[in-house]
Symmetry: C2
Amino acid sequence: MTGYAPAEAARRSGFSLDTLRYYEKIGLLADVERTAGGQRVFTDDDLGWLVLFRCLRDTGMPIAQMRRYAQLARDGEHTVDERLELLRRHAEQVEEQMRLLQRQYDHLREKIRFYERLPGR
Amino acid sequence: MTGYAPAEAARRSGFSLDTLRYYEKIGLLADVERTAGGQRVFTDDDLGWLVLFRCLRDTGMPIAQMRRYAQLARDGEHTVDERLELLRRHAEQVEEQMRLLQRQYDHLREKIRFYERLPGR
DNA sequence: CTCCAACCTGGAGTGCACTCCAGGTCAAGG
DNA sequence: CCTTGACCTGGAGTGCACTCCAGGTTGGAG
């Protein structure tokens, strides 16, 4: 157990195989294990990272910042404060994003109501 | 009144001047009025469209779809049903987007709590 | 063993939504 | 009039995040 073939890792993470390779190439996902023949073997730990990346990506964090976070984590325990700070700042931006989305959604619903009340319907 | 210089329209809409020109070029914003010398004059009606485009853009609608909506509106009253349908479908997608964002935000907050509870802080 | 689906690499290509540029024109204040 | 800051055009360039490709290798089923 705790060893997933590329296709399985893609399925579980929801990222395409190309994206997984891309994430490794740019140093987001560090040094994935390989078989003797050079094929990737993803661990549960890798999968955990991918779940986090999905969370951060879905909330709009740019890749450069995810990479910075991943680098901090690799640098060890003494970066915990900085990592926390980074996540907190991001959470604030997500809150702002949610407020904007809600505001524009309300606007959209108003527009829809306008159409629904139009005579001749 | 009801005639805004390009810079003023940019300021009021929150789009850059380049973006306003781009939106006109691709036929999203149709045929903006001009002075004798060829400089744009935006009307309140144009500004209204820009407010709508901002709403749709902020909620993730691709430009191609906005253009389709604008075209329908230009085509006249008989497209009202189709426009309504388009907006409704988009609203559903925004709802889905909000749910995902909320879910991932919760996930992010959990991660932050994990860091906050770490010993040595 | 043999097969073939899944995998590998480096690098080029894509799609979206702008954004910038060069080289000129317009128009309002002094 | 003259200046100068705002504006014009067509077209090239940018940034992001993938996505696709050619040409070759791997490894588990039969």
